[in-house]
Subunit: 360 residues, 5 copies
């Protein structure tokens, strides 16, 4: 949660456009993957030399440079300089706590998108920033960690499947964002399963942990929504045909992408409503259960109260010898059985009274 | 619930436009109904050969092809290819978990609408996707299961009733969507009856099941609203006169349709408000009832407390022989009657005190 | 409540434009009132022959035809055919569960408005649909039941008061809708009185019935709002000067009407907020009262608990003869007074303790 | 509250434009203040003759006519006729329960604004309608009661302070509305003080009266908001430069006024949020306090329960002479001290147990 | 809180444009910092003579005049007159309780922005108004107190770092607002830490203070949001390219600034949702804990109730000598052990009964 704020706070007092990496540091060397292709040829290259990527920059082929890991800020900065990116763009790429946004520059478009993973062990949803820089003949992608989300695109390029090799950088951008959005569905599926499990738990064995889980889910949805909602606006800008780098041909694909995002947002909203409903059910069922117990105990106590009173009466020490009015029952032949019978009758009577009134 | 997500998640990693059926599989053979008509002639045909449908594609007559069941994805795909549909459209037809939407292509319009049925046995509202592909001279409709919603249109075509035979594919599209919207009213009527029954139950014999039913209704309304709300926007696009395939003549019918959808949404919103109100009533009436019981029991206990105390006092063993101050009541001639009278007086006094204070 | 839906559900499966009356049936004959006037002349006529009305249709005079009762659907249909109304308009006139709306046709404008009456006996607000068909020289009005709302307009025409005889059909339309909106204020006044009574009840003697009344009011407001809110949009369309049948001259009157409707809606919203506030007050005051009672009883019990314990102690049967340590108090000269004093001291002490802590 | 509706309800059935005063009647004579000024001269006049005001109507000087009190409807009507006002305007001036609005006529502009006073004694906020009629050379103002809000403007005119004498009627209108809006801040300051006092009360000695005060404040804010919110729209229309009577020169002043109104609305919204928060605090603190008391009492009872049980055990009458197993404690030398010690040990043990569990 | 209103209320009755300082008075002398620079030269000057600043007004260099402290209203007014500011602007500068706003005049732009500091000791967020007056060649900044927020800009000017010396007054304005917005992140980071601490407290040791802290945070967020939200609109106006004083070159920086503000608002909304969630958790966990205690105590009492009853029965004084039916147990050889055993069996039985029902 704090991570939403800390990074930017780090930068207070620095001039705008200062490139500082705000994510977590790891010791590994940053690798750069370069894929260069046109309908006829394709080139796959892994390097740690920034200069090799810039070579393909101005060639008419599509040149896709992907960097996994931003902790070597100087390398990222160097790459950005090769491609003549604005200092503010470099700052945005390295500031990994941004909301999805689009910045249109004269010769390139910058997009920040958030990618999500469901961590199996903790059940948490991890969020990562992916930056895209779309040029006429190149596409740069910046990821925080090594991931497999873009593998299907790589395979399609390698094996020349579908239309990807025949289209330009804009289609490649679409294909990559599409794979991120597809990933949202995978995450939402997990969330859906969790909700289903929580619902079963709610019906069968609600506990304090159930409520904490519900609250946890609620917050996850809150953060998920916060990081996906602005993407709608970003894609909407893309398809409004005002960006020269986005060709008319892929507007139909962008419409499709837009529909998917709307569906993701819709599902998140539905899940939020469901989780709210679950919280209500939990609270009222816990309160009902508590009330039931209290009621049974109170009725139980209420039945014994007059019985104890009767026992108390016959435990009084009035002197039976002084007067025939003083507790004659004590000297009756069937005094004790009478008292016990009286107790049973009173107890049963109350039990039946409560039962007929449907008090339990 | 999970079904909202799973289908699309299935597709993560696949290239866009891959045709995969995301609904449930059944073993039956998919039947294709073809109706071809103009004001003078009409042709009714049931086949399982896709090619027979494409024959009428370019004829000036209205050619309506209906498919019940999408589980044979290859057949659907083949049909779509006959009509030159875009791969993304085929994907949309087969992905049966979409929200209502409209996609306008150069030579056809794609619409996804959701149809609802009230399952008598489970009381659940079932939701099914119906896809429409509107061309100049043809209309394709894709349903997930066999249903009778379109029967009234078929009869009107057969018996040449009303204006349906005299109009084009756009009127047919309108007539079919209108019959789906009319169906919403049937479903809402059922829901209205359920709400009325729940209200009676709420007044007469509220139980834990009542609350679960209220929550169930709440969720049903949530899902219903989610699947009907976007339809408003879809119809609104249709009537905005910007689609060449929709003629000016039917705009008045589309306005009427739009009004009906607004009314459906209005009713759903009203039902949601009512259900929320019912939940409030339930919670407060359960809590009231509980409180009433607890109050009566507590007052009951409170009356006995001083009585038991009195009995306890006269059960003390002070030695009356040692001093005239030690419990002289025990040796009184009317000691016991005095004690009993005292108890009755105290008990009655408290009863009256509570009664006058309107505590029960 | 169900009536919101049932009528339209009746029509599922029928072709669009089928005229079916969806309200309640009564056996009476439908009467038609015709008023035909210009600045110099006026004609009042009551008939049950539809044809007589159509006579005045094309004359330059203003011809107002009013029908009270729609249960003779054939008569209504016949009248509509005389005036060349579209089948969808006829359907709308007879389907009496619509939300307020406006349909602009080439040669007439159709308006549906809802009229409200406060039933004195049941306290319920009754809702009725009034349909208007505005032509160049004629105005048709369709009411469900016989009412006196339009009487003031009739008198003004008869006695040639104000400007009504000097203006056209559009002013007549305005005057009639204005009288319906004025009626809303009458209904709201009643509601205001009911709220005031409920508030007094809430302060003086809140009961379970109070809460049910609050909920009843809440729902009444919900339905009232639902049926008035869309009227705002309808009047807004009228005054936007886009309808040739509405002359520029009456736009100032339509503005005034619009202001009134805004004020009605404002008042409804305020009432809704007030009713919500009342519900909160009710719940918290009931819960407070309950808590007060429970607290007093619990304190009462708490005071007696140690007293009963003391009595219990001196009711123990330790053998005082075996040892001087065994309950010597029992043999004290002032043993019993000592015990009683002890009880009084403890009881008073606790009473004062609770009092100083402001526990009651 | 009812006053929101009654006035207008009075008018149901009357033709539009009927001048009826809907406020409270008082017996006093209505006074008319006339101020006529240009940069060089100024004339102050108090009269009860309507005709005297109309004299200055067409002179190029600024002529401000103010009426305190509307109960002499005929006088108001006469004045309005002198200035050629539309009957609907006269009706609006006299109907004192309107929401703020602006009506633009050909040769004048009508504005209705609400003025507020904080009644020191009752703590209530009183609301009054002020109507403005702005002409080229005249301004009419209609107040319900005599007030001092406009005095600062009068003094500035008299003493020729600031720019007021140099500007036209539009600046005068601005200056008067500005003084009304300044008054809102005075009222809000009072409300702020009340909220602060309520907060102190809430922390120190929350009572049932506190809650009623909170609810009272809530409703006051509701009504205040309702009567100020539309003013925003009114001023927004004024500054949109579309009204010829409003000169370009004062647009900067109108912007400032607009900012003030936004700030008033903002503050009202903040107060509403604060009051809602206070209600939550009240409810949870009352419930907490109640719970604390109940808990302490319950623990108190729980400690005595086993003690009373022990006393009960040694109060049993088993015959110690029949068997050495029958209650040998009764005959022990230290039997009674043992029992007392046992009780102290059990009681202390439970006390410590509860304490270590932090139950109180 | 009251400070939101008081200042402006002070001014009721005064003519518009009266310069009155509405903040707190301190005795210190107001210092004026002047920085004058172009790409080649820079001049730093601290003075208390207003006239020295006006000297640089019309020079083509960028002249930035900063005033820390507004309590010497005459000095501020004098400075403003040197720069020909409108009286309303002077009023706005001195009225320190405004919401962020922008006023565009012919030859300058006025901006009011709110700056925030987190007070370490009280944990409160302090709010201060910063006014900007942007001219072609000058920028005036007015702060309420001495602060270090603008120091980084001063250093960059002094050391000629970045592009600041090469750009005009508009870039300087951007750089200063940017440093204020960066400060928001610092404040939000503190808030985030507080929320994290509160969450830990909530889980480990929830107390009444926790709730008060949550409410305190809630209100802080309310006020923070209120003072930042309008800034969005202000920056949005700046970047809409309609203000001649703002050059095209810095629009990319303004976009970046806008994104940051959106992110701040987003974070505030997320925090508000989290705090609401925490309140829910607090209330339900307090209520749960309370219920747990009550339940355990009630079960404890319930177990002792029948035991005390048994003791009461054997404490009755029926005369065993009169009849063999009268309490023969008292004379049994193992009577007492039997009774004790009976009690243990009943107590254990109930314990097990409650345990198996999972009542505790």
């Amino acid at each position: 949660m704090i991570s939403l704020v800390k990074p930017s706070a780090l930068k207070a007092g620095l001039p705008p456009g200062t490139p500082i990496y705000t994510g977590q540091q790891t010791g590994t060397e940053v690798k750069i993957n370069l894929i260069d292709y046109d309908p006829e040829h394709s080139l796959f290259l892994t390097t740690d030399q920034v200069e090799e990527c810039a070579v393909h920059k101005d060639k008419p082929t599509v040149s896709w440079t992907n960097i996994d890991g931003l902790h070597q800020a100087d390398k990222v900065e160097k790459l950005c300089q090769c491609f003549n990116l604005h200092p503010l763009t470099v700052e945005d790429i390295l500031n990994t706590s941004q909301r999805p946004k689009i910045d249109v520059f004269d010769d390139y478009v910058y997009l920040a998108v958030r990618m999500h993973h469901h961590n199996e062990k903790t059940g948490k949803i991890l969020s990562e920033q992916v930056s895209f820089v779309l040029g006429k003949t190149f596409l740069l992608t910046f990821q925080e960690t090594v991931g497999d989300t873009f593998d299907s695109a790589r395979i399609r390029i390698k094996e020349n499947k579908g239309r990807i090799r025949k289209m330009g950088t804009d289609y490649l951008l679409y294909a990559l964002i599409d794979s991120i959005v597809d990933n949202y569905f995978t995450v939402l599926e997990k969330v859906g399963e969790d909700i289903e499990m929580l619902e079963d738990e709610l019906v069968e064995r609600p506990s304090n942990a159930t409520m904490q889980n519900i609250h946890f889910m609620k917050r996850e949805m809150l953060l998920l929504r916060k990081s996906i909602w602005p993407l709608r606006e970003v894609i909407s800008s893309l398809r409004r045909d005002e960006i020269p780098l986005i060709s008319q041909d892929i507007s139909i694909f962008l419409n499709d992408l837009y529909d998917h995002i709307i569906q993701v947002i819709d599902t998140i909203e539905t899940y939020r409503d469901m989780i709210s409903g679950m919280l209500d059910i939990y609270l009222s069922s816990v309160s009902n259960r508590m009330n039931e117990i209290m009621k049974v105990l109170t009725i139980f106590a209420a039945i014994f109260i007059p019985l104890t009173f009767i026992a108390g009466v016959y435990g009084m020490n009035f002197n039976t010898e002084k007067s025939p009015f003083n507790m004659p029952e004590l000297n009756w032949y069937f005094g004790y059985p009478f008292a016990l019978t009286l107790m049973v009758v009173v107890g049963l009577g109350m039990f039946i009274f409560f039962k007929t009134r449907k008090w339990f």
